[in-house]
Symmetry: C2
Subunit: 382 residues, 2 copies
C-alpha cells in the first residue's frame, strides 16, 4: 500500500547558536538557508515547498523568512511541536518528497529565545503542573533522583555527560559554548534543581538551521553530497506508564522501536547519534530508550566512554543541546545538520571515524505542561 | 512519479462560533472532534495521526486537546499559517492518507480570539506596514476603493454580500450571527475603514471544527457518508504583481489555476463554494480569482444573485466568515465541515440543491505583516 520514494539530504547549514539579541529571528534564519541551498547547489527557485519549525517565532514566520531570499510562490507551512518543532518540520518536508508531490523541499527551524526576556520557557496559563513548580528542570531532576535510587547512577556519571559534550563542542564553531569544563566545574556550578546544577542544563539562546531535501533519484543532479533518510518517525502522546516509572520515557521507547522497524536496523547499527540532552539525565535516559544499553545501564555506558567520539556509540559529537545550545525550533534541524556532516565525513576534529549510519533523536515536552508533545527520530545513511 | 491514493472525508463536526470567553480553547476543541469521530463511526483508537491548526493556541495545542479524549500515542502536529492554519492542517492530514503512511487521520482547528483581549489581530513587532496602520481592514478598504475606481463596483454591491451571508446563516445553528441584516443596516453600521463599515467585516470569536479523513478504499468501512477530496492545493508567497493591481489576489489566482488542473475541472463545474470573506470585498475579489466571473465582474455577479443559495454558483451558504464567524485557526476546517454537509445533502434550509462538487477557499494574510502566508483551495465531490 505504502509506496514511498527515497529521500536524501543534499544541503545543510546552521547559524551560530548563541545569545544574539541584536539579530531578529529573520536575520538569524536566512543565512543558514542560503548556506544550505549553496551547499546543495539548489537555487531558491528550485525549492518546491518549505517547512518551518518554531515555537515562539510568531504567525507566518516561514513566509517572512523566505520572502527576503527569493523563495515565494510555493507551499510554505509553519510547524510547532515544542522542542521537536524543527524535526517535525523536517518530517513533513521528507513526506512531501517521499510521497512524490515534490522533488526538492526545504526544512528549517529558528528560535530567538532572548526575545522572551530571559525567563523560563513559557508555559500555558492555568497549567496545574507548572503552577506547582513542576517545570522542566524539576522534572528532569526528579528523573535523575529516581534513576540514582533505582539503578545506583551517580551525579558524577551524569556530570560526565556535560563534560563530554562540552569537550566535543570545543571543535564546533557554531556552538554556544566552546570550552572544556571539568567534572568539578559541572558539579560545583550553581544549583538549579537538585541534583542538577547549571552545567547539567542546556543554555537558552538564539539560532537557526536548515537542510535541503531531494528525491534520492534526483539527488545526484545537485552538487551537495547526498545523505539518505533511511527512516522517519514522529510519535506523540502520554507516557503509557505515566509517573509509575519516570526513569523511562515511554515516548522515546516507542519511537525507537518504530524507527528501528522502519529502518530495518537495530541500535548496534548506529555509528553516531545526536540525542536530546536538554539535561544530562535526559541523554542518559535516552541511551537506554534508544537501546544503546540496557535499562539502568546508562551510567556504566558513560563510565566506559562508549558515547565519546572515539567510543562504540558516539553521542552528541556536536556538543548537543547542553553545549551547542538549544534554540528550541532550530534544534531538531541542527541535529540533522550535524549528522549530515558526520556521514559526509566533513566534521573535522569532532568527526566520528567511518560513520555510515547516523541517528537524530529529538523529543518535545517532558511531563509538566507539555503532555509529551512529540518524539522524532530520524535515521540517515551514507 | 506521484502515486497518491484517493482520500475521503468521513466525519465532520464543529462548535458554535461565538464569543465564548468562559470556555478554554481545549473545551472548545474537544466536542467537535468527538462529534466528527461519532459521525464517522471512528473510535479514538482508530485515528492514526492528527493535525491541529491554530494561530494563537500556544505550544502543543493538538496534544493538549487530544490527551483528554483518549487520542494519544500517535503522530500529532501543530500547524500555523495565519487564516489558513486549519486548512493547512487539513492538507497535511490529506497528504498523510494520500501518501499511504496512514489510513485514518484527523484534522482540526481551534482558536480563542477572546483570549487576546478583544483588540485587533496581533501583528509582529517591528512590522513596518502595521506600524503605519496598514492593518487588515485598511488593506481590504483600499482594495475596495480600487475595485470601485477600476470597475465601477459600488458599495451597495459589496453590502449585498454581507446581506446574503447573514441571510444564509439564519439557518446555521453554529453561526455567530443568526439574523438577517438589511442593505441599509450594513451601509449604516459603524465605519471601520472607509468604505467598509462594521458589517462589511467578519467578527472576532471563538470556535473549533474537526474532520476525519480516510483512504477512499476503506471509507465504506466506517458509517459516515464519505465525501471525496478531489484536489488539494496550498500556495504561499508574495503577490507577483505586488501593489501594482491590488484588486487581484495573485495568490488566489495561482492557487485556483493549480487546483483546477489537479481536479481536472473548471469553475463552471463547482456547485457550491465556501470562500474567504473576511471582508465583503474579499468575497468579491475571490469570485474573480476563482473564475466564477471575469475580472471586474464581481459586482455584476452579486447583482444577478448568482452566488445566493438558489443561484448559479452559491457562495458561503454557511454564512461565511462574515456571519458564521472567523475564529482563525478553525475557519478552514469549518469550511470543509460545511461543504461535507452540502455534498451529503444534510444542510437543511441552507442546502444547495443537487450539489455534487464543492470547493473551499481559505487565504491567510493580506498585505501588511502577513506576507501572503498561504492560500489553500480544496475541491470535494460526492
Amino acid at each position: 500500500m505504502v509506496s514511498l520514494r527515497g529521500v536524501s539530504v543534499i544541503g545543510a547549514g546552521m547559524s551560530r547558536f548563541a545569545k544574539q539579541p541584536e539579530l531578529s529571528i529573520i536575520d538569524l534564519a536566512q543565512p543558514p538557508i542560503l548556506d544550505a541551498l549553496e551547499d546543495a547547489g539548489v537555487t531558491p527557485g528550485q525549492v518546491q515547498a518549505a517547512y518551518c519549525g518554531s515555537v515562539f517565532g510568531g504567525s507566518g514566520l516561514g513566509q517572512k523568512v523566505l520572502k527576503g531570499i527569493g523563495i515565494s510562490g510555493i507551499p510554505i507551512l509553519n510547524l510547532e511541536n515544542a522542542c521537536s518543532s524543527g524535526s517535525s518540520a523536517f518530517r513533513e518536508a521528507w513526506l512531501a518528497v517521499a510521497s512524490g508531490i515534490h522533488d526538492v523541499t526545504l526544512a528549517f527551524g529558528a528560535e530567538k529565545l532572548t526575545a522572551l526576556g530571559g525567563g523560563a520557557y513559557p508555559l500555558g496559563e492555568g497549567d496545574i503542573e507548572a503552577d506547582q513548580g513542576i517545570l522542566m528542570p524539576a522534572v528532569y531532576a526528579m528523573r535523575a533522583r529516581r534513576h540514582m535510587t533505582e539503578y545506583g547512577t551517580t551525579i558524577e556519571q551524569l556530570a560526565k555527560i556535560a563534560v563530554k559534550n562540552h569537550s566535543n563542542s570545543v571543535h564546533n564553531a557554531q556552538a554556544q559554548y566552546q570550552r572544556e569544563y571539568t567534572l568539578e566545574e559541572v558539579l560545583n556550578s550553581r544549583m538549579v534543581a537538585d541534583p542538577l546544577t547549571l552545567l547539567h542544563c542546556c543554555p537558552t539562546g538564539d539560532g537557526a538551521a536548515a537542510v535541503v531535501l531531494a528525491a534520492t533519484e534526483f539527488a545526484d543532479r545537485f552538487h551537495g553530497k547526498p545523505v539518505k533518510v533511511r527512516a522517519s518517525v514522529l510519535q506523540s502522546g502520554l507516557f503509557k506508564n505515566d509517573f509509575r516509572d519516570m526513569t523511562k520515557s515511554d515516548l522515546s521507547y516507542r519511537a525507537a522501536a518504530a524507527v528501528y522497524e522502519m529502518a530495518g536496523l537495530g541500535p548496534e547499527d548506529i555509528d553516531v547519534a545526536e540525542v536530546h540532552d536538554a539535561f544530562t539525565i535526559g541523554e542518559l535516559m535516552y541511551y537506554e530508550a534508544l537501546g544503546f544499553c540496557a535499562p539502568g545501564e546508562g551510567g556504566r555506558l558513560i563510565d566506559e566512554g562508549a558515547t565519546e567520539i572515539t567510543g562504540r556509540i558516539p553521542v552528541n559529537p556536536s556538543g548537543g543541546l547542553l553545549s551547542k545550545g538549544h534554540p528550541v525550533g532550530a534544534t531538531g534541524v541542527a541535529q540533522i545538520v550535524e549528522i549530515t556532516g558526520q556521514l559526509r565525513g566533513t566534521c573535522g576534529r569532532r568527526q566520528v571515524a567511518g560513520a555510515r549510519i547516523g541517528m537524530t533523536h529529538c523529543t518535545g515536552g517532558g511531563v509538566a505542561g507539555f503532555d509529551h508533545i512529540a518524539c522524532t527520530i530520524h535515521v540517515f545513511e551514507q
